[in-house]
Symmetry: C2
Subunit: 331 residues, 2 copies
């Protein structure tokens, strides 16, 4: 009898990541490839399943369950993906039904930030902890919360929406319709927008040269310009850290987690981001001693989501494990 | 053999509340009396214990455990009260040791907001729910969080510090040393301070007449003046609701609880506070449908804390019940 394995699938707007582990959770294979959103949901899912089947065959194992992390909104209980902004045409897409029919194994769905939280919790910066908050700072800002070793979903799966914490009342308009959300100031998209606004208003900066043109400015270029000593970039970066400190401090005031773990593209700036952020959260949040305020960079990079999806998959065959994704009971 | 009972003791700076219940949690007696802080911790605790003994004897029952809620800071694990601002001379006061020696039964300590959260969860506005946030708006603003039917304490017992959520960056200085905390704008003390500042600056208002003199202005008088149609009072009240909506919305973004339950003196304004607050949180928090945003007034008034302390007491004799107050495990 072949060794049993579980697969984790993380579907993003840019990349798809897949991981395969034995039923004890030891990862034996993982990979990433471009999403190519233009192919549409069915062909994208076909390619992902083929990749999983290839991994299964290459390792000579028998796949017994699969977990999927994907950008929301989604309907976890019914296994549907509901029009995520970064995945055009994924409207009420019945991903779980398709996978279960095609592979004949149970599949479990959760949103990408929850999956990544579970990945960092089990394999990354949150190993050995029980209560963590994972925040991804990317195109948007999302979050996943682990409480007592399980994803905490909250009412309507609404927990962990840290990107929509108000950090500046009457601040810039957010995509959610409110003003001054953390995401509207500190997401990668918002960092780039603030830089472009200042450049268009005539502020001198090396950012434009580094980006090639104003429309090509990204958060990554801003971070590079900070390292190169650019004054405007430093101002935008400081402002970003200031409001991230407010949002993270507010989250800590509510939950006092063992760690806040930062993932997503903007977090790859590393200590340029984390070191001043940690200091500011520590000085803003006087209710906890500084050594209890633990802000860490995600350890798995682009694999947090697929590694977490593995754990979701495991939960489909061992209901008492790691999470209860069926929405019943006590979350 | 006499029927077994459990007592709950809630020690506040103004009032002490005591409740007695059978071991199934049915309350059979409860009372409140003035704290008289000038008596100091030993005599105050003596009076509380005498009251509990009287209740026990009047009901002809046998007391088997006691729970205590008290203002923090405190050391739950060691059973010490550590200099709460509203209880002068309670410095490293070993309340649990004294109670256990005197009554010969196990006693369990937690902070007053956690006890009140447990009271509302078991007996009040949160009955039948699993995940709630309780917020007391009083001299200060405190909170208690129930997740999966248990108090969630967080690292260093730091969870639920919703009074120190930043709602206005660079806002008024808070007692905690940071600026723009919810408590620094919306606590009863802060509402009264803001009214006095406006009155001293010369704004005409009926508040002064209603209070007798500017120094006698309280949040209660401000609420009365709002009902009487006073313009300044309405402005201060609207501002209070605006920032409360920011703080509560931020809390909901993190946790998506089944309800946010408001207790404490300021909450007794009832629908004058709750109705506009609910509307504003619903319009600010677009991540949840309005009917999933549930803001309720506490149902037990001054008894939330003693009723919750009962449940703490029960946990001392039935470790799997309601809470894990010994600091071990996954909290």
């Amino acid at each position: 009898m072949n060794k049993q394995t579980v697969a984790g699938l993380d579907i993003g707007g840019t990349k798809i990541a897949v991981a395969l582990a034995d039923t004890d959770g030891n990862v034996i294979s993982h990979t990433r490839f471009d999403t190519r959103v233009e192919l549409g949901p069915h062909r994208i899912l076909d390619r992902a399943i083929e990749e999983i089947e290839r991994m299964r065959d290459d390792t000579g194992t028998r796949l017994v369950a699969l977990g999927v992390g994907c950008g929301g909104p989604l309907d976890r209980a019914r296994g549907l993906i509901l029009s995520p902004p970064n995945l055009p045409d994924w409207d009420e897409f019945p991903i779980i039904e398709i996978i279960e029919k095609r592979l004949g194994i149970p599949a479990v769905l959760d949103n990408d930030a929850n999956a990544a939280a579970l990945g960092e919790f089990n394999y990354g910066a949150g190993r050995g902890m029980h209560n963590i908050v994972y925040i991804t700072i990317s195109t948007g800002i999302g979050g996943g919360i682990i409480i007592n070793d399980q994803i905490f979903h909250g009412v309507n799966d609404g927990a962990g929406e840290v990107g929509h914490i108000t950090v500046l009342t009457d601040g810039p308009m957010c995509g959610c319709g409110a003003r001054g959300c953390l995401e509207a100031i500190c997401s990668g998209t918002s960092i780039a927008r603030r830089a472009r606004e200042r450049l268009l208003a005539g502020t001198q900066s090396s950012i434009t040269t580094m980006a090639g043109e104003i429309n090509a400015v990204t958060a990554k270029v801003v971070a590079e310009a900070v390292r190169a000593g650019d004054k405007l970039a430093a101002e935008i970066w400081d402002e970003t850290i200031y409001y991230l400190a407010v949002g993270i401090s507010n989250t800590i005031n509510v939950l006092a987690p063992e760690a806040v773990i930062l993932g997503g593209g903007v977090s790859t700036a590393g200590e340029l981001l984390i070191e001043p952020l940690r200091r500011q959260v520590q000085s803003r949040n006087t209710m906890l001693p500084p050594d209890k305020i633990n802000i860490l960079q995600a350890a798995l990079g682009g694999d947090s989501g697929s590694y977490g999806a593995l754990i979701l998959g495991q939960s489909g065959i061992a209901p008492k494990n790691a999470t209860k994704p069926d929405g019943s009971g006590h979350q």
